[in-house]
Amino acid sequence: MKPARFEYYDPRNLQEALEILHAHPDDGKILAGGQSLMPLLNMRLARPKIIVDINRIEGLNYVKATGTGVAIGANARQRALQTERLIGERLVVLREAGSFIAHPQICSRGTICGSLAHADPAAELPALAVALDAELVATGPNAARAIPAGGFFQSYFTTALQPDEILTEARFPAPPEDMAWSILEVSRRHGDFALVGIVAGLAVERERPVINRARLVYFGVGATPMRVNAAEALLIGQAPGEDAFDAAAQVAGQEIDPSNDIHATAEYRRAVAATLTRRALRAAMEKLKAN
């Protein structure tokens, strides 16, 4: 289980990395944290001829404030979600996702942008990006473009990135102040890939107990993170509580289209998605009450 041969570049600046990728449109792969790519290389499930290691490019490892939100650079490690003060202040749900994302030994190398670019259907960060309306900055040899998360994740391990583009930044706007968030996941063992997961957001009107904002994004249930608008719509205008949460949970369970595999049946995933919906909404509600 050793990688097949490849050419290895570890440029010191972004432009050089982009030029190398551009020169090898079908054969190049970016190596950042390597926690997803290296297993594929070791097992020879992926055999790119060119590896462009971006770890030595200065200025890509940051978590910084942008207006009221946070911008995360290509080389920022997943551990930063635990250690960066800004995350705790502005996007605490990203911190809560920490132990679901991976074990500490993986998070020390794995990058946030790398997880987004890899687009594993069972991953947490893509679902969080969709739930929080993040923008993903794709930098190519001539230009950079900001792609809304909703259109970024296209299929299994497939994003809107062109072969000669690098995901250089993930921008998370500050979520509405009155919204509370919860992330939950079920896996066979702690740290395993999610069988089903949910990112839920909830807001209630100031004057009266009526839900005015809801976000429900599921992962592990399809080729990409899945936002269930129908379930969100059911919540708006309702009193927050078991009746509304249950109705949303039932719709969510029906709307998702999970597959069967040896770990779980589609039926099981639907049932778990519904249960997690209720739990996540309750958890978000508790946070709202606490504030």
Binding site: K29, L37, L40, M43, R44, L45, A46, R47, P48, H118, A119, P121, A122, S155, Y156, F157, T158, F193, G222, A223, S259, N260, D261, I262, H263
Partner: protein
């Protein structure tokens, strides 16, 4: 794993049948099909390069058409193996014309996947298989569109 699907084609049963048994449309629409050559009666040798994202594998194998009952149904058997694993699928395709000059193609079958991709990629197999089947039939639908346009023009 089970393979199931239902795909609607905007034509009567005969042109849809002809499309489905045509090796050229099979080659054009089978995901990753690099080569397809007839080696016997309704038997083809094929090389497929398929994958999702960075995960790719080359499979060499056979495609067989069996139990032809024109224009109503036939069975398709696909066998392939490569460094990343092997696949064997068998499916029955049934054509049903509905009143308004539309034909539904129903797919019912089974696939076994083994080797490295099956071990490591277990959680993705069914979803990816569904997706590839969808790609295959959407491609055939557009091929039909092209054929009908040609014969009309």
């Amino acid at each position: 794993m089970k393979i199931e699907g239902r795909f609607i084609f905007p034509a009567s049963i005969q042109p849809v049948w002809e499309l489905l048994i045509d090796p050229q449309s099979l080659q054009a629409c089978t995901p990753g099909c690099k080569s397809l050559s007839e080696i016997g009666n309704d038997e083809f040798e094929a090389t497929l390069e398929i994958g999702v994202g960075p995960i790719k594998g080359t499979f060499g194998g056979k495609i067989l058409m069996r139990e032809k009952n024109p224009p109503f149904s036939y069975s398709l058997v696909v066998e392939g193996s490569g460094a990343v694993g092997f696949v064997r699928g068998e499916g029955k395709l049934t054509l049903e014309q509905s009143e308004d000059d539309k034909t539904a193609v129903l797919v019912a079958g089974d696939a076994q996947v083994g080797g490295l991709i099956a071990g490591v990629g277990q959680r993705l197999l069914e979803g990816v298989a569904k997706q590839m089947m969808g790609q295959f039939f959407r491609c055939l639908q557009s091929q039909l569109g092209t054929r009908l346009a040609k014969s009309a023009g």
